[in-house]
Structure formats: C-alpha cells, structure tokens
C-alpha cells in the first residue's frame, strides 16, 4: 500500500490546479523540476529487471539522468550493489579465502586476498586469475590495486611483481557466454607497490588480473575509476493513488540530450492498476506450495523468528508446555505453532503441521507482478510537444510510470527535468465496452458497420456521455443511424475527418446500449475502430472504449476488423472516362486502391500504346488508401494517336513487385 501521507502530499503539493470540467475534476501531477522532487516519488521496490541504482538525482537539481561516473569515485566499491562479484576461477578457495576475496573491493584496509607461501605451507601464487564483474557496463580508464600498507599491516613488499591485466566490455562473449578478455597491460617487472594502470576510456564490465609471478603477493584493494554515463538506467515512480477510478489524459515530459542526441534514448512507459501495489507477495508453505499474502505481511515475515508454540489439552484448554508433556498421550490435544502474522497454516489434510515441518518453513516466497489487477507496462510514448495520450487501461485508481535511459556512447545521455500526467475524476463511466460487426470484410469495399457501445455507469457518480468519437481508416461514407437500447434516436454528426468522425446523441447516464451504424471502407487486416466517449460539456475528458461484449446481438467482442490475408495489394483499378475523348473532358482519371501497406511505397502508373511503347509515366509514393492520376491524352505536350492503350499500375514493396493492368481507349 502506498502511504496515504504520500498520496495526500502529492495531491496537495503537486497538483497543478484541480480544474472542474463539467462534473469531472481534472488534475495534473508534476514530478521533478520545481515540483515534487524525483527522490520522493521514486518507487521503493525495485523491478528486478531494471537498472534502478544508477540514476543521478543530485548533480543537476530538478533533473534525473543516468549516473555519470565521477572520475574520483572508486567504481569497484559498489560492485555488489550492481549485482557484480569477484571470483578466482582457477583455484579452489576456502571459506576464509572467499571472505578475503570480497574484501578486495569493500574498502576494508584490514582484509586482503593473499597468496603467500610460508615455510610450513607452499601456496601457488603464479597464474592466479582474479575476475571482477563490475555488475554493469561502465566507462573505465584507470585501475589500481595494491597490498595493505598501513602501520598495522605493513605488507607493502607483497605487491604483485608481474601481472597481466585483461578487460572485457560486457558484450564480447563466447558462445558459452563467458567474457572474451583482451590484454590491456602486461608488466613483467613491476616495481611499484601501488599498481596504477591507465588506458583509453572504454566500456568495461569484466576485469581479469592474472599474476605471472612466483613471488608471494596480496591485494588489499582493487580500485576502478572511469568517466562517462552508464549505458542503461531506470527510474520507476511510486504508485500514485488518484483517490478514485480516473480517466487519463496526456503525459508529457521535458527532456534534454547530452552529447550526440542520436546516441541516447529516453523511454517513458506507464501502467495502471486497481489496487495499491503492482506486485503479488507469496508466503511459502512447507510442502512447497505458496499462499498469497499482503505486502505488509510479507515484509513482517522473519525467517529467524520461531514464534510462539501453544499447547492444548484434549479438552481444548491451553496448558503450559510442561503440563502438556506431563499429560498421558491420550489426554494431549493440539500443539499450535505461531509466527508473526498468525497461526502457522495447516497441512494439506487440514491438520496442524508437525514441528519438523514448522521448522522447515521458509516464509518468504515469490514476489510476482500482479497481472490480474495491473496492466503491463505500456508501449513507449513518443516524445511530442504537448504530450501524448496515456494508453494504459482506464479508468483505474492507481498509476505508475517508468523512465528508461539508454546510451550507446559514454558521452551521450538523456535527461528529464520533469514529467507530468493528466487525470480526471470521476470517469465518464466505470467501464465502456465496444464491439463492431461485421468482423470480416472485403478490403476496399464500402461496408456497413454496426458499432455497439455499452457503458457501466455508476449513477450519480460517473458523468455519462453524449458524444462518441470513432477512428476510421478512411473518411466515413455515411453515418446512417444511432440507436440507444434499440431505439433510433436523433443524432448529429459533429465532426468528420479523414481518420475519424464524432456523433452526438442524447446523453447516456446509465448502462444503456448505444449503437452507431455507418459505412466505411477497410484497407487492411487488423483495422481497429478505436473510440472515445465524452460529454459535450467537458470535451477534454475522453474515455476510451475497450473491446468486449457490448451486446449479445453481436458476437465479435472486438473492435478490430479483419480482411482476407495474402490478397492483392492493388485493387479497383479503374479508368474513367473510358473511352476518353480529349476535349470532352480535361483528362481521364486512373484510380486504384492500395491495400494492406502501412508505410508509403513507390508506385508507378505507366501508359503504353499497343506496340508496347511507353507514352506516359506517373509516379509517387503511397500506403493503404485510394489514389488517382489524371491523364490528358498527351505525350510530350502532343496528343497521342487514337487507339487502345494499356494502363499499368505497379507498386514496389519490400516483398516484391505487384502490378495490375487495364485498357484505355482514346478516341477523337
């Protein structure tokens, strides 16, 4: 549960105006910049897959950006925080030696990894490999290592007298996934206790130090220094509690790039939920099963806490342990085991578990994403002036966003000053489902569609709607009728554009079925008729519909329309007028539909005479849509002779070439 105090403080401190819009209240959260500090809005539970430990909060006030390595900072000191480690792959180590090995990156001047021979014990010091995984790809240009040299541990003479230093950038791996190391430095006659190796700044993830000396040595510390931005970093916001199910408006942010802009990316995603945490916590039971528990309960579970054991006599009375064991066995009742959070669960047969089972309980189980109550992270949003609409499901009460920073260059990074998102409470409806019929259509043929919308409206709470905006692949032909609960109602087409239309009708304030019948062409498989419902009194607050079962009359449960797959890309090649008589019309119009294409491809319209000679060529680029070219019957400014001509339309797609032919008769 996100803390209530956080919610209240955010609402009061960071809501930039709570504006009444009709009956709805619009609000905007602003995080970062001069508003809510980034650190206060960060999620306290890291996503295991996200590099959350490398966000820089302090360097540029108000901004967040990937950590830029401080040239004076020892990168090696945070190896374990980043998930890295230290190992010696070619020598078996004792437990003490393993502990000492960890000490070479923890800054402890008393702990050193030693390979020292004594008269009593010969220790191999030659060829020992010290592998260091920094836990992330970082810009590195300097590595130091040295023995203990304090007054208490005066071992400066045990420095590594000959060594090889290898590096790997974290990307160059063998087929088995092991790093392919490159020798950076080989020193056969080292005379310096403090080895200080500098090299050109480069991404490094794995470091290997190889001793090539028979002399005893120790390493107190390995220090790694560098510069540049880390290549990946993630900021995940806290869960914002909006107080009630809300509709989301736009999200926008202010970002800047350091270094070459094309070498860094800022990726923003959102997710929404119906409860206060996107995670599900499980508690392990002895027989391997797990039960879901609350977050609070999960974190209260302490594996070391044995808890209370209570003894009961056969008659159900609680007795002391001493009394219990003094009773004859037939008079003994249950023994119950408790831990923080309650009684230890029963076993599969419903009996209290045994003490042996009780002792084997390891309480903390999995933590998983709550897919039932939370959406997945949305698709990345485009960075656009004025923001973009939030696509995570709504209305939802809880909201979260994440910002991923990616760099392909040590000098390049994205940074974000502030991020803001809009929400509106209460929503238009608790839920609006929609479906369309028919689902299977012929591409390029005008089709009569019925678009059914069923809201779930909490009367007196949700605002209801009297407008429906439906996105279309091409300009809608006609809007024929609007029905509410099966009765035709008076409607108006408020707006028609090439990619959407809006109809107005009497306001719907309860769970009534709204049906809009319109004619439109579909040009490709998977055309989706998205729609948003809104109240004309508050046009800014638009609630998207979701595909679902709006009415039993339609069984598609979907707003996506399918066409046949694998058909022709060019359809409806027509020439009008044909025959064409120059003078009677300015030109003949050659038109055709392009289907299925999602991005413009080159097309050519060639007109040949009957002998195959090209007399006219038009060319252009286009994706799915209707196209036309007009030909005035001329070639090089002169009328071509009358006769039969062949019109060819050809498109060059990535899958190959497709063409269609038609004849045209020129008469004069």
């Amino acid at each position: 549960m996100e803390s209530r105090s956080f919610r209240i403080s955010v609402i009061f401190l960071c809501l930039v105006g709570v504006v009444p819009i009709g009956r709805a209240h619009g609000g905007t959260y602003v995080i970062g910049g001069k508003a809510l500090p980034w650190k206060e809005a960060v999620w306290d539970e890291a996503d295991p897959d996200a590099a959350v430990g490398v966000i820089e909060f302090e360097r540029r006030p108000g901004w967040i950006l990937p950590v830029e390595i401080d040239t004076a900072e020892n990168i090696a000191s945070k190896i374990f925080e980043r998930g890295g480690g230290v190992s010696v792959p070619n020598v078996p180590l004792s437990r003490e030696e393993k502990d000492a090995l960890v000490g070479i990156v923890n800054g402890d001047p008393a702990v050193a990894f030693e390979r020292k021979s004594t008269p009593a014990k010969k220790v191999n010091s030659y060829g020992i490999l010290l592998d260091i995984d920094l836990g992330a790809r970082l810009g590195v240009d300097r590595i130091r290592f040295f023995p203990r040299m304090s007054e208490k541990y005066p071992y400066s003479e045990y420095f590594m007298r000959a060594y090889e230093l290898y590096l790997n950038d974290g990307l160059e791996l063998t087929e088995e996934g092991n790093p392919i190391y490159h020798l950076a430095v080989r020193e056969e006659k080292n005379t310096e206790p403090v080895v200080d190796v500098r090299f050109p700044l480069q991404y490094v993830r794995y470091i290997r130090i190889k001793s090539i000396t028979e002399a005893s040595w120790e390493i107190d510390e390995v220090q790694v220094f560098g510069a540049g931005f880390v290549p990946t970093a993630t900021y995940i916001s806290k869960v914002f509690d909006l107080g009630d199910a809300a509709i989301f408006g736009r999200i926008w942010w202010h970002q800047k790039k350091v270094g070459t802009p094309s070498k860094s990316k800022v990726i923003v995603r959102t997710r929404t939920g119906t409860d206060d945490t996107p995670l599900v916590y499980y508690r392990k039971l002895a027989w391997g099963e797990e039960v879901e528990v609350s977050k609070e309960e999960y974190y209260r579970l302490d594996p070391d806490e044995q808890g209370e054991i209570r003894y009961f006599a056969k008659d159900g009375s609680e007795v002391s342990k001493k009394v219990y064991y003094s009773l004859p066995p037939e008079e003994r009742g249950e023994v119950k085991y408790y831990r923080t959070g309650g009684e230890v669960p029963f076993d599969r047969e419903g009996l209290p578990i045994t003490k042996a089972m009780y002792d084997t309980l390891s309480l903390k189980g999995r933590i998983e994403l709550d897919r039932e109550n939370w959406s997945s992270w949305s698709s990345p949003y485009d960075y656009r002036e004025g923001g973009v609409f939030i696509v995570s499901p709504c209305p939802r009460r809880y909201f979260q966003f994440r910002i991923d920073f990616e760099s392909r260059d040590l000098d390049a990074a994205g940074m974000v000053d502030s991020i803001a998102f809009q929400f509106f409470v209460p929503p238009i409806a608790r839920r609006i489902v929609a479906e369309i019929s028919p689902r299977k259509v012929v591409a390029g043929e005008p089709t009569r569609f019925t678009y059914a919308v069923r809201p779930t409206i909490r009367e007196g709470v949700d605002t209801g709607f009297d407008r429906l905006e439906i996105l279309t692949p091409v300009k809608v032909d006609t809007v024929e009728v609007v029905r509410i609960d099966g009765d035709e109602v008076k409607f108006e087409v408020v707006e028609v554009d090439h990619d959407h239309f809006t109809v107005g009708f009497p306001k719907v304030t309860s769970d009534r079925l709204v049906e809009v019948v319109f004619r439109c062409e579909v040009l490709r498989y998977g055309t989706t008729f998205l729609a948003r419902a809104f109240d004309s009194a508050a046009e800014e607050v638009k609630q998207p519909v979701v595909a679902g079962d709006a009415t039993s009359e339609i069984d598609t449960d979907d707003i996506s329309v399918h066409t046949a797959l694998g058909g022709a890309l060019i359809r409806k090649l027509e020439v009008r007028p044909d025959p064409f008589i120059p003078g009677s019309a300015d030109a003949t119009r050659i038109s055709w539909d392009l289907l299925q294409l999602t991005r413009p491809v080159p097309f050519y319209v060639d007109i040949y005479d009957i002998s195959g000679r090209l007399v006219r060529r038009f060319q252009g680029r286009g994706k799915s849509g209707t196209y036309f070219k007009e030909w005035d019957g001329r070639c090089g400014g002169k009328l071509v002779p009358p006769g039969v001509y062949i019109v060819r339309v050809r498109v060059e797609t990535d899958s190959g070439r497709e063409e269609k032919f038609r004849t045209l008769t020129l008469v004069y």
Partner: protein, 872 residues
C-alpha cells in the same frame, strides 16, 4: 550362467589324473565326436556322489585339478611351496553368444545394448582394456575379392558422410563400412548422450533416457562417370521405458523428465529480426491459440480456440500502432498463455495433447517461444527460434498467418542425396540436396504417445568445373535455409535438457573446425573434456604446429617485430589472398562459430568464372558472384577479374605477379572471431565486426614479387603489395582504402677461412589509409641493417655474433596518438651453440645474450641458457 556350478560339474565328471599336469583344454566342455564343445549344459545329477552320510560333503574345488588342494586335508607347504591363486581377471572370463556358444575366454572390451521396455535399458560398457590395450580404437575387418568391410569402434573417429550432413573430427561411436568397386555403405551408430570416453576407467553406463544417433550413407557407381549417393542422419531422444516400436523411432520420444509434468505456460516472444535498423520490426495484428485435449467433464476429445473460450494471453511490450503492435529495434512483444489462470476454461491442462499458436504477423518478425517445460537448469524459460520473416520487409506487404505447433524437441533428422560426375568430357560435378526435419512432441504425462510435429528446411549446393586446356570454367550455386540445422539436443544423465547449455546439451553433426585440425573449435561434451579449441588459427598457422607462424619461438613478440627474425618474417598485412566475402580477411584464414558447411547458413547465391591459361604460368580469370541472405534483405554482388603469373627463370630467379579487380556491392556482414596477437601478448581470440567496407566499391589488388638468385650466396627479394578500395558511394564512417607495402631485402653469405659472414639489408615501407575514418592513416619506413658472423669452436660448438641497426622513420606529421615516433635501435647478440648426442637424444645447448638499445630510451638485456633435446 552360474560359472562356478559349471566348473564343479565338469570337475566331477572327469577322472582325476594321476599327475598334477594341467590341461586347460579339457577342463571344460564335453566331447562330441572328435571335438570338445563348450556350450553350457547346466548342472547334472551326480549318481556317484549319492552317499548317505551325515558329514559335510566337501566338493572338489575348482582349482583342485590345478593345485591338488583338498579342503579337508592338512596343508603343509614345507616341501611343496604354496602357490597363490591365479588372478582370474588376468586370465579372462568366459563369454557366450546369443545362441549359448562359448565365444572366448577373455575380456568383453565393448558392449552396447538396448532393451525396451525396461528401466535403464540402454547400456554401454567399455572395459579398461579398451582404453589401455587398444587405445580407444577397435577395428574388425574382412575382405574377399573386391568386397571389403570394417567395423570401427572408437572415441575419436574422423568421420564425414557429406559436408552438409555429417562431418566430425572426433566421432565417438561405431562405424560400419562396406566398399566394393561399385557400391559403398557406411552405418554410424552412437549413443551420443553418453558414449563414454575411454579415458575413464572401464565403466558400465546404464541409462533410461538417451539420445541415439544413426547415420547412413550409400553410394552407387552408375556407369563410368556418375556416382549417386544417399545420406540419412538421425539423432533422437529415446526412452527405454517405452516399447520399442511405439511410434516412429526416428521422430524420437519425450524423455521421462520432458514428460514428467504438464505444460502450464507457453510464452511467445516476437521481436525485430533486423534490430539494427530500429524500424519495420515485427507487426503483430492478432493472435489465437488452438488447444486439443480432453474435456474436463465429458472426457471427450475436443479442439477449442482461445478466442472462443475467452482464453487470452498476457501481452507485454511493443509499440502500439493503429491496429497492431510493433516490435521495432530492441523492443519485444511477449504473449504469455497461462493454463493455470483461473479464467482458463479449456481442456484440463494435464490432458492437452496439442497446442497451436496462430499469429497474424507482418514485416521483419522473429518469433521465439518457450514454456515452463523448456527451461535451463535454474528453471528459467529458454526461448527457441520458431519462425523468421524472409527479407527485411517494412511496409506490411508480407502480412500472413503463422501457425506454430508447440512441442519439446525430440529428434533432428537430415536426409538427402548426392550426384558426382568425374571427368565426363572434361566436366566435374558435385551436387547435394538435403532436407532437415526437427521433430517436437507435446508433453502429456497421461500419455505414452504424443503428438509429433516438425519444422523442415533445405540445403543444396552444386559445384561444376570444366577444363579444356587452355580454357577452364567453374560454377557454383548454393542455398542453405536460415534454420537448416545439424544440431540436436542431448539429454543429461537424469534425462533432462538444459536448452541453453551448449556445452552439455548440444550435439553437432557438423562441427565447427575452421583450422581443420583434430579438435572442433567449439566446446561440446565428450570432446577434449568439453573444451573448445582455444587456438583456432593461432595467427596464421599453415604448418599446423599450433604455434603462430608469426611467432614460432612463442615468446610474446611477433617474429616480424623481433630483432634478427624480422629480416625473414614479413608482417601479415603484406600477405595476400582471395577475399570473396569482402570482409578484409583472407578467406582461408577466417574463423567463425558456425558449422563447417561449404557455404554459410541463410545464404543463397552463385558464382562462376571463366579462365584461360595464356601461357602455362599465366592465368586470366573473369567471374561474377551473387549472394543474398534469405532471412534478411542483404545482398552481395561482384564482378571480378583475376590475373596470376608465376615463373622461375633459370639462373635468374622467380617472378610472381597477381592482380585482381572487382566491382562489389556487398552489405552482408561476415563477422569473425580471429586470433589476434599484439606485441607483449600471446594473442587471444577477438570478435571482429565486418565493417561492410565494400557496400559499393571498386577493389583492386596487386602483388609483384621477384626473388633474384643469380649469384651464389646472394639473395635479393623485392615485394610490392597494393590494395585500393574505391568507395563509389559515400557511407558514414567509410572512406577509400589504400595500402601500399614495399619490401626490398638483400643478403649475401660468404666465408673468410672458418668464419661465415652474412650481411643483410631490409627495407620495409608502408603507406596505409584504413577504410574506417576513425582509424588514423599510416606512413612509415623501417630499414634494417644487420650482419651475422659464425665461426666454429672446438669440435661440436660454434659461436655466432650478430648486430642489427633498425632505423624507423615515422612519416606522418603530426604523429597520430598511439603511433611510434621515429627511432633508431641497435641490437647486438652473441650465442654459443653446442650439439652433442646424449642418451639417445641430440642435445643442443645454447648460451647467449642479446643487448638492445633504442636510442633515447633504456637499454634492454636478455641472457639465456637453453637446452633442447631433439630426435633429429
């Protein structure tokens, strides 16, 4: 068979001889006519021994005949000393064949047996004698007239059926070969999941779950010129608990671990097949799942669609576009079908027999899938490739429905045929076609037979040449599908597969062995302890001594950098060779991590050339090459011209000339992993990315070399190498490449009394403009003046003195960072060499010292005593 009882019975039946003469030949068996036969007869009734007494009946012991010991008698070894029992192992045991006939008394060296249905029904044993006596190789052979056969059993057999189907430098198994004048046949058999390496002590390894390999190849000579052949290779999972003939053995069967639990979750991952361009990746329009299984209530078989029963996947990732989800660049879309989800209302997950996932996809997609049964050792799902889009479509013009039938891998099979023509009217031809099928089965704990499905792919190649002196021609065409695979999964000792553990769970029919030595280049189980060949082309190793030809003394310094040696060794940049894939590496020294097919996977193309011998030592070749990737939109096209001349002039020397010109458009990356040695290192494998320097280029290469040997003792060598890469179109980061290398050297050897002298001068000039703009230009000259004097001392020793002055001139102004400034370096060396025969070896002892001084820098001194024991 109870051997002891047989012995006792045999002893009792025989009369006790008067003497203790041992006659092993009559100890066992029974006489049948004139022969003693050794079939087991069981225990017989001993009428003579039916004695009604109460005292213990002492049976004459096995060795009574040999040693004369009686268990009830007092033993006294004063006169006749005790003789210990003979170690039965040293004498061997008795072995009987399938018909009960004695095979031999000796040792069972090797046995592979499979019994079904039975737990641990597959058994292989390799006796220690297999390892110690026979050095892990057994050969049984026979021949009569033109007919020859041999059965070879070994741990490391060099075996090739065809280069596209089966080729391994270390095949562990058995190989049966038959050959006659017209026919030949080879049969390969191996339990590849655990063939046992003979280096271990002889062990009996029984397994329930195995992966078995069967390989077949037969050829028939048709007429005088034509030979046709057929090949079949199959590796399949085998579970000995199942009956032998349940289902097709070649499609394999699920192992007990594969079939130990139901599939609860299927995850499909869709991504961009060409992520580097960041656009036009997979476009996912819709999805559905088809489930065939038994209804929970009625128990009837039914087929339901996810869309019908409201079973939808969890969809994550992807950019939301109007009507579809896009996975561009690094973005991926995952669909997770969870059969344990409370909303799932289809057939009981434990009773599902088949699952098909249908996806409507377009553009440049790559589909991988996994399930909670397709995992690594840690239980994490491992994605395996399911489908890829041909080309790199970005405009949605390839929209289609992809149907994927889920299952766990159970077998891999390759079959095909070959046609060979040998010198028919001057034509030679080799053609091969192969089809690969990769089988899967859907696990279901409640069934023994499972639904089997497979993916298929093809590979073919044609090579044709014609020689009609002075003209010659060559043509090659080939195509190998991107998913053509000669790799199969092998089970571990528990019957499990870690689907991402290449070392322990992958077996290759065709190994990667680019340096063509005895070791595969990649690490796989049961080959050299699973270690990969860590020195693939260590530098350029033409003499196959596993030491770089550029560092034969293996001393961390490339020989072309080392004083005195650098007179004879030229840097590798001055060599030349064919680079048909235009990745700036000579093709014959390339190393990758792919199976050694004759052509690369996912490539289709052709190449042909015509040539003429203008004179016997002069050739002209003109050719054309075209190649494209099948799963990506990448092409390579070149027209080329080649000229070679190589003639030795008597009393003068040898002249070599090479010239080539090519017009190239190539955007197919040919990345490599090459051995790179920089000074101060022994070298390492390094991944090298093809800079695609010939995307639209004209490439000219020329080499002229002349070795003058006209005067005795005088060697004069001149080499010129010129590479020109002319970029016809400007690509970011690329520029025209130029390499000009000129080497001139002369040495003269003469004697003054007992003193042998050799003064030498070598000049090496290099001018280079690298193709990558980020790399600095080079222009430098190195002149070496050196002299070596040798004179004998005593009878078997000689002293050599040498001095070398290197004058290096850096001709770039300003000097690029990291480049050497001009310098002079003087090196002096003295070496005493003694050669003597010692204990059968030729002992060569060298004591010496080398002093080097780079002017303006510190002096380096190296002294040594080295002893070599040689056999020649």
């Amino acid at each position: 068979m109870d051997l002891k009882r047989l012995l006792v019975a045999s002893l009792l039946l025989l009369p006790v001889p008067a003497s203790s003469q041992v006659n092993y030949g009559r100890l066992f068996g029974r006489r049948v006519g004139e022969e003693v036969v050794f079939e087991p007869t069981g225990v017989e009734v001993l009428l003579g021994a039916q004695d009604p007494v109460l005292k213990k009946w002492y049976v004459p012991q096995e060795l009574y005949r040999i040693y004369g010991w009686k268990q009830w008698e007092y033993t006294n070894y004063a006169r006749e000393h005790y003789r210990r029992y003979v170690d039965i192992y040293l004498e061997g045991s008795y072995y009987y064949d399938l018909f009960g006939r004695l095979v031999t008394r000796g040792w069972q060296v090797y046995r592979w047996q499979q019994d079904q249905p039975e737990r641990s029904g597959s058994s292989i044993s390799k006796d220690r004698t297999y390892n110690n006596w026979f050095d892990r190789l057994l050969i049984a052979s026979d021949s009569k007239g033109q007919y020859h056969m041999a059965l070879t059993i070994g741990d490391e057999i060099r075996t090739t059926l065809t280069p596209l189907t089966f080729s391994k430098p270390l095949f562990n198994g058995s190989q049966f070969d038959f050959q006659s004048d017209k026919y030949s046949l080879t049969v390969l058999l191996s339990r590849i999941s655990l063939p046992i390496i003979g280096t271990k002590e002889g062990r009996h390894m029984d397994r329930t779950n195995n992966t078995n390999l069967l390989g077949l190849r037969g050829t028939v000579q048709v007429g005088q010129f034509l030979k046709v052949g057929a090949t079949y290779v199959n590796a399949h999972q085998s579970n000995t608990l199942l009956e032998s003939f349940s289902g097709s053995p070649f499609s394999g069967s699920l192992t007990t671990v594969q079939n130990s639990a139901r599939v609860s979750k299927i995850i499909i991952r869709i991504s961009d097949d060409s992520p580097e361009d960041g656009e036009g990746g997979a476009a996912l329009y819709s999805w559905d799942i088809v489930i065939r299984g038994r209804d929970r209530l009625t128990g009837r078989m039914e087929t339901v669609r996810g869309s019908q029963i409201g079973f939808e996947p969890i969809v994550e990732g992807g950019y939301q576009r109007l009507g579809y989800l896009a996975a561009d660049g690094e973005e991926t879309i995952t669909l997770t079908y969870d059969f344990t989800d409370p909303s799932y209302a289809g057939p009981d997950p434990s009773l599902i027999e088949r699952v098909i996932v249908e996806l409507v996809l377009a553009n440049d997609y790559r589909v991988e899938w996994t399930s909670d049964r397709q995992t690594n050792k840690a239980g994490q799902p491992v994605f395996l490739l399911a489908a890829r889009a041909p080309g790199n479509v970005k405009d949605n013009s390839n929209q289609r429905v992809i149907r994927l039938d889920y299952g766990l891998p159970t077998a891999n099979e390759v079959y095909g045929f070959t046609v060979e023509v040998d010198d028919f009217k001057g034509f030679d031809l080799y053609a091969e076609f192969d089809r690969n099928r990769r089988f899967r089965q859907y696990p279901n704990v409640n069934k023994k037979e499972h639904h089997t499905t497979y993916d298929a792919s093809e590979a073919w190649m044609v090579n044709m040449s014609k020689l009609s002196y002075p003209y010659f021609a060559f043509f090659e065409a080939y195509s190998i599908d991107y998913d053509y695979s000669t790799t199969c999964f092998i089970v571990d000792d528990k019957g499990a597969i870690d689907y991402e553990d290449k070392l322990h769970n992958l077996y290759e029919f065709v190994d990667d062995n680019d340096d063509q030595d005895r070791y595969p280049d990649w690490g796989r189980l049961y080959q050299r302890g699973g270690t990969p060949d860590d020195a693939v082309f260590p530098g350029w190793d033409e003499n196959n001594d596993f030491i770089s030809d550029f560092n034969e003394n293996d001393n961390l310094i490339p020989d072309y950098e080392e004083p005195f040696l650098r007179y004879d060794v030229d840097p590798p940049e001055f060599l030349f060779g064919m680079d048909m894939n235009h990745n700036m590496w000579v093709d014959r020294f390339e190393n990758d991590e792919e199976p050694d097919y004759p052509y690369k996977r996912d490539h289709r193309g052709y190449n042909f050339y015509f040539g003429v011998h203008i004179t016997p030592d002069m050739r002209l070749i003109v050719g054309h090459q075209y190649e494209r990737l099948l799963a990506e939109r990448k092409r390579s096209r070149s027209d080329y011209f080649l000229f070679t001349f190589d003639r030795s002039f008597a009393g003068l020397g040898r002249l070599r000339m090479f010239g080539s010109f090519a017009s190239v458009k190539d955007n197919i990356p040919d990345n490599l992993i090459q051995w790179v040695q920089t000074p101060g290192t022994r070298g390492t494998m390094k991944k090298l990315e093809d800079p695609l320097a010939a995307r639209d280029a004209r490439i000219g290469c020329a080499f002229v070399g002349f070795d003058y040997t006209g005067i005795e003792g005088l060697n004069l060598t001149n080499k010129l190498k010129l590479d020109l890469w002319d970029q016809r179109r400007k690509f970011p980061g690329l520029r025209d490449r130029t390499f000009l290398g000129l080497i001139n050297k002369v040495d003269y050897t003469f004697t003054l009394g007992r003193l042998k002298l050799q003064p030498r001068i070598k000049n090496l000039f290099r001018r280079e403009v690298p193709v990558l703009e980020e790399e600095p230009e080079r222009k430098e000259n190195l002149t070496l003046f050196s002299a070596i004097a040798k004179f004998p001392v005593l009878k078997r020793s000689e002293v050599e003195l040498g001095a070398e002055l290197a004058v290096f001139r850096q001709l770039m102004r300003p000097v690029p960072p990291g480049f050497e400034e001009s310098y002079e370096e003087l090196t002096g060396a003295v070496q005493l060499t003694n050669r003597v025969d010692y204990m059968g070896y030729r002992l060569t002892t060298q004591i010496g010292m080398r002093v080097g001084r780079k002017f303006g820098k510190k002096t380096s001194v190296s002294s040594f005593i080295t002893v070599y024991a040689g056999t020649e």
